[in-house]
């Protein structure tokens, strides 16, 4: 059984086909880096896997079951928004809000639920961190708390939407290392979307590259190539390797850098 299986999936968003006729199989226990230009459908694909967007055509199976909302086997870190009004809240309450958060009633946690929160915080080394108000944590520390939150309910597939955004290279490395460590320890599948490939290179087993409604999945050497990326970008792409790094260039512009700047 694969962690994620797409068969001839077509997804439209705002009247435009974001994915068209995409088929792929992601095996269990893999760390997948998901890349692609802005608007290529990285977030849309995640929301489809979560059952929030229904594909127009094709079928999606998550760990053998059809994709559906509220699947406890799928953990999720949405792209970080500003938490303006909630910054004074301590991390513990923020993380714990996801514990059975969909059920009616008072947010009073049972002993088992509290233990679950402790376990998740311990997994990511955020037990101390969770005592501080969110406003006193750094971007990297906040990602740590978000990861703990995503681990509640012990998911077997983890979807992380751009966790590296607005982090400096040092903290980016910290987050990737932490996710890799948790992924290995729990033996789960991780799909990690990012703007840049290089921070992920050491951690990922495979790369899933999206572009122009299509997807390419495979080892870095198979996907990050001139023909595959030229097809996904619809223009002439050069792949330049330098030591342990890879640069994806369109003409003399580095495409990932360009995307990143636009985003910021």
């Amino acid at each position: 059984m694969s962690a994620l299986s797409l068969q001839q999936v077509t997804v439209s968003f705002a009247g435009r086909a974001v994915l068209s006729d995409v088929s792929l199989e992601i095996g269990q226990g893999l760390f997948i880096g998901m890349l692609g230009p802005n608007g290529a459908g990285k977030t849309t694909l995640m929301r489809t896997v979560l059952g929030l967007i229904r594909p127009v055509g094709g079928s999606i199976r998550v760990l053998g079951e059809p994709a559906s909302r509220g699947n406890a086997a799928v953990g999720y870190i949405p792209q970080l928004r500003s938490l303006a009004g909630n910054m004074r809240l301590r991390g513990w309450d923020f993380v714990a809000s996801a514990c059975n958060g969909h059920r009616w009633g008072l947010p009073i946690l049972s002993r088992a639920a509290r233990q679950e929160v402790h376990w998740a915080l311990d997994m990511v080394g955020a037990t101390e961190l969770a005592r501080r108000p969110l406003m006193e944590t750094s971007g990297g520390e906040r990602q740590r708390l978000l990861l703990a939150q995503a681990l509640l309910g012990r998911p077997r597939l983890l979807l992380l939407d751009e966790p590296l955004i607005s982090l400096d290279p040092h903290h980016q490395h910290g987050v990737v290392t932490l996710v890799k460590q948790v992924q290995q320890e729990l033996g789960i599948t991780v799909i990690f979307s990012a703007h840049e490939l290089n921070p992920l290179l050491a951690a990922i087993d495979q790369v899933l590259y999206l572009g122009r409604g299509q997807a390419a999945l495979g080892k870095v050497d198979e996907v990050i190539t001139k023909p595959v990326l030229s097809r996904l970008y619809g223009s002439n792409i050069d792949v330049i390797r330098m030591k342990n790094r890879i640069f994806v260039m369109a003409g003399d512009v580095e495409v990932e850098k360009e995307e990143h700047c636009h985003h910021a």
């Binding site: 929030l52 999720y76 303006a84 996801a98 958060g101 969909h102 009616w104 008072l106 501080r132």
Partner: protein, 271 residues
Amino acid sequence: MLEFDFMQNAFIAGGLVSVLAGVVGFFLVMRGQTFAGHALSHVGFAGATGAALLGLSPIWGLIWVTLLGGVSMGALGERLQGSDIVIGTILSLALGLGMLFLHFFTAYATQATALLFGNVLGVNTDTLWTLAWLGLACLLLLAIMARPLVFASLQPELAEAKGVSLRQVSMLFLAIVALTTAECIQIVGVLLVFTLMVGPAATAQKLTSHLGTGVLLAALLALAEAWLGITLAFYTDWPTSFWITALSSSAYLAVTVLHMLRNRRLLASAA
């Protein structure tokens, strides 16, 4: 002062409403929807004056119209959220309509000041019962939806993925806010609802980072401010609403200054 019936009523009404306002206000501040709460009270002004014009009960006109406003705001959801211009436009239109209704029904104009600035000393026993039942209903509803409300407020995308209906949560919560606003208007009036709903909650959030403690503290602060305000009004003969706003903003100011001093000390010791 408690030998007077109107003072007893004032203390009971003030107590009921302030506790509710403190609790609901805490979540309102957490969700960053304070402006929506402010606007709802103005919608209530049009409701009360409109009802009076039609010969209906102003308090029920107030309650139904704010409730309708709250539920519609919730249903519009994200399209309205954070849209200060739309909310502000509705707010001023509602006040304008209220003025128009008063223009056609001048006999009610004497009540306008009470509606705008509150009149807790004029609460009668009937109103007291209405406040009690509505308040109880709000707290019950809030208790039932508290968990998804917190989840949806802190992590909307994740909550949605886990099966929480953001629209449902938003509509239910704004319905509670609307009813709470209608209650607050009885005490501090349309224009000063902020003082009971937002002041204590914002102060509480500066004092603690614990969720549960924060809710409790907001309720206690609101209660203390309301009761102390009524007491001061009795002895000074100044308006109750003035005292409540003075206490509410002083508490917020004091906590803010304390915070600044503490942060400066922390910075100094770190340096």
